[in-house]
């Protein structure tokens, strides 16, 4: 369904460009939630914007690689061209519900706008559909809320509205970029379960971006871990958690309070994520890696596999259970 192959995203000016995402590949199937995990600056948001066709041209652009939806190449297409050409199957919800809605337009108008574009319906039909969408995302008094302005809603409600807008685009794949970070803990859970439900109900693929492995373990079917603009490890959620290959994945998991352990392990990864442009040669994680060897600091990194769908890019994977 959605395939991302060897995606390279560059930033800067053509004379001084810099790869901020390099050689990223993954795939999302219907009804499947892919968790994309990494620290801030790891390139996960840029990847999602690239998939969405929303990179801020001309400052950031796709240099090579392909994004395919049902076999059609949509790499270079911004959303309105995708709609025009019938490729409008990807929609997105963003991290900040407070600023992601236009403050001067009513909720209804903002949903109807999407409805009109994707359904071709107008007037009363669009309005009815907008109300259905609000009901679908469990907003009480949907009819009333259509006339509300964003500032009149709470953060959780706004994120639901964002989801309604995304659904209005009748997506095959929904990208959710840290949709719960800005919300209260209780509201977070409601929104997460809503996303999971909708994924199942509409048989959508979901690309769920987060830095929170805990959320991933609850929600995702498969996980991709990014570090320094590259994929570090991909695999089914159970395999990855049971048997992390990349030291970075291991480190991330170390950051997660482990409910199984007798005492709270709370280890952090020393050092900081590399800034774009300051990336070291060879493995980008090398400066922070406990297992670093001289070979890590130069040349290409080999892929290692620990199962049919579980792979990592590392000279010295944590686990020896390789296939």
């Amino acid at each position: 369904m959605l395939k991302v192959r060897n995606l390279v995203v560059a930033a800067g000016s053509p004379s001084a460009e810099l790869d901020i995402v390099s050689d990223v590949s993954f795939e999302i199937k219907r009804g499947e939630v892919l968790g994309l995990v990494g620290e801030s600056g790891s390139g996960k948001s840029i990847t999602s914007l690239a998939v969405m066709g929303l990179l801020p041209h001309p400052h950031i652009w796709v240099r090579s690689g392909a994004i395919e939806l049902d076999g059609a190449d949509i790499t270079e297409e911004p959303p309105h061209l995708r709609v025009e050409r019938g490729h409008g199957g990807v929609s997105m919800i963003f991290q900040e519900p407070m600023t992601s809605l236009n403050p001067v337009l009513r909720i209804g108008e903002q949903i109807e706008e999407a409805v009109r574009v994707h359904d071709g319906s107008t007037g009363e039909t669009a309005r009815i559909r907008a109300r259905e969408l609000l009901e679908m995302v469990r907003i009480p008094d949907a009819r009333l809320q259509l006339n509300a302005y964003p500032h009149e809603l709470s953060g959780g409600m706004r994120q639901r509205v964002m989801i309604a807008i995304a659904l209005a685009c009748r997506p095959q794949v929904l990208i959710a970029d840290e949709p719960t970070t800005a919300l209260d803990v209780t509201v977070q859970m409601q929104v997460l379960s809503l996303i999971r439900e909708l994924c199942d109900a509409f048989d959508m693929g979901v690309l769920f971006i987060t830095h929170d492995l805990g959320v991933v373990s609850e929600l995702a079917d498969r996980v991709a871990v990014m570090y320094g603009g590259k994929l570090a490890e991909t695999g089914p959620v159970a395999d990855l958690f049971r048997n992390p290959l990349h030291p970075y994945t291991g480190g991330l998991m170390g950051c997660v309070p482990d409910p199984g352990a007798g005492h709270r392990r709370f280890r952090t990864i020393p050092g900081q994520a590399p800034k774009p442009g300051e990336v070291p040669q060879g493995c980008k994680f090398a400066p922070r890696c406990d297992h670093v060897q001289p070979v890590c600091r130069s040349g290409a990194i080999p892929a290692v596999a620990a199962g049919p769908a579980h792979a990592a890019y590392c000279h010295h994977p944590l686990s020896r259970e390789l296939t």
Partner: protein, 315 residues
């Protein structure tokens, strides 16, 4: 809403009273004497004194102020020393020119500044943007009278397409065609102001374009022009609208120089000439009216936000 308007009006009136006192004191600090100007070269001291008493200029200044303020409350701004005519009539005559000039100028400013600012913003970084922004900055750097003089030289004196100066009322012979007298002056006055609005529109557009909700709008797949018009421009204009208000109010008094170059009978030039003639009642009256206009426009701008921006709550 009503409570808000009342509260703001109250504040405006307080400002107006403070301003009127300042005006009054200022004007009476001006050296020179209207009585000498009135009576001319060879008046005797007795004549001067008699007229001074008749006009009440022998009274202490606070007595003069209360007398004047009392009359203002009754809608009487006094009588021009120079014209021997009610100040309200003089202002009414000048106001037509000034308001029309400001309105026509405002049309230019909005018609040129906003679309070109939008164009520069959506072509940000290209030579179109740099060219337009450069021209705007140049226009904002040219003294208005310099532009005016050259416009007269080219379009009135050399080409003879437009009248060089003056403005007969549109209620007189010629009717609306008299508006052509305001064409060159309004362009002169519009140039630097349109440049400011252009720059403001562009900056505001660029700021708004970075907002998350614009990205949301794009993600819906709506067409770019719609994103620009409905989502970016609409929000960007919020910042520009208050500048419209300030600009319009400023145009009334800024027009002094333009009115001088084009010999327009506006209230700006009226003030300057009245200062030179020491025609106190006219100066006081006109400045009071201009301050009043400024406050009213300010209030209207704030109220208009109630309709433009739902986040603004006036209560």
């Amino acid at each position: 809403m009503l409570a808000y308007v009342l509260k703001r009006t109250g504040a405006a009136i307080a400002t107006l009273v403070a301003a009127s006192i300042v005006i009054f004191i200022f004007i009476h600090l001006i050296p020179g004497d209207p009585i000498y100007v009135m009576l001319g070269d060879e008046a005797t001291p007795e004549q001067v004194e008699a007229l001074r008493i008749r006009l009440g200029y022998d009274q202490p200044i606070y007595v003069q102020y209360f007398y004047w303020a009392g009359n203002v409350l009754r809608g009487d701004l006094g009588t021009s020393i120079f014209f021997q005519e009610p100040v309200t009539l003089i202002i009414r005559d000048g106001a037509e020119t000034s308001l029309l000039l400001a309105t026509v100028t405002m049309v230019w400013i909005v018609a040129l500044g906003v679309p070109v600012g939008v164009l520069a913003a959506i072509r940000q970084g290209t030579w179109i943007d740099q060219g337009l922004s450069g021209i705007a900055m140049l226009l904002a750097s040219i003294p208005t009278f310099w532009v005016g003089l050259y416009l007269i030289l080219i379009f009135a004196a050399n080409l003879g397409w437009l009248p060089s100066s003056g403005y007969p009322s549109i209620f007189e012979e010629g009717g609306l065609s008299n508006l052509r007298y305001l064409l060159l002056p309004s362009l002169t006055l519009a140039a630097p102001n349109a440049a400011l609005i252009l720059r403001l529109t562009r900056a505001s557009m660029l700021d708004v374009a970075k907002e998350d909700y614009v990205r949301t709008a794009r993600s819906k797949g709506i067409r770019p022009y719609r994103v620009v018009l409905r989502h970016i421009l609409r929000n960007a204009l919020l910042a520009v609208v208050s500048a419209f208000g300030f600009t319009f109010a400023a145009l009334i008094s800024e027009a002094v120089v333009t009115e001088t170059v084009f010999a327009l009978p506006g209230i700006g030039r009226m003030v300057v000439q009245s200062i030179l003639r020491r025609d106190y009642p006219v100066i006081q009256g006109v400045i009071l009216v201009i301050v009043c206009l400024y406050l009213v426009i300010n209030l209207l701008v704030d109220i208009s936000y109630r309709y433009l921006d739902p986040r603004v709550d006036l209560e």
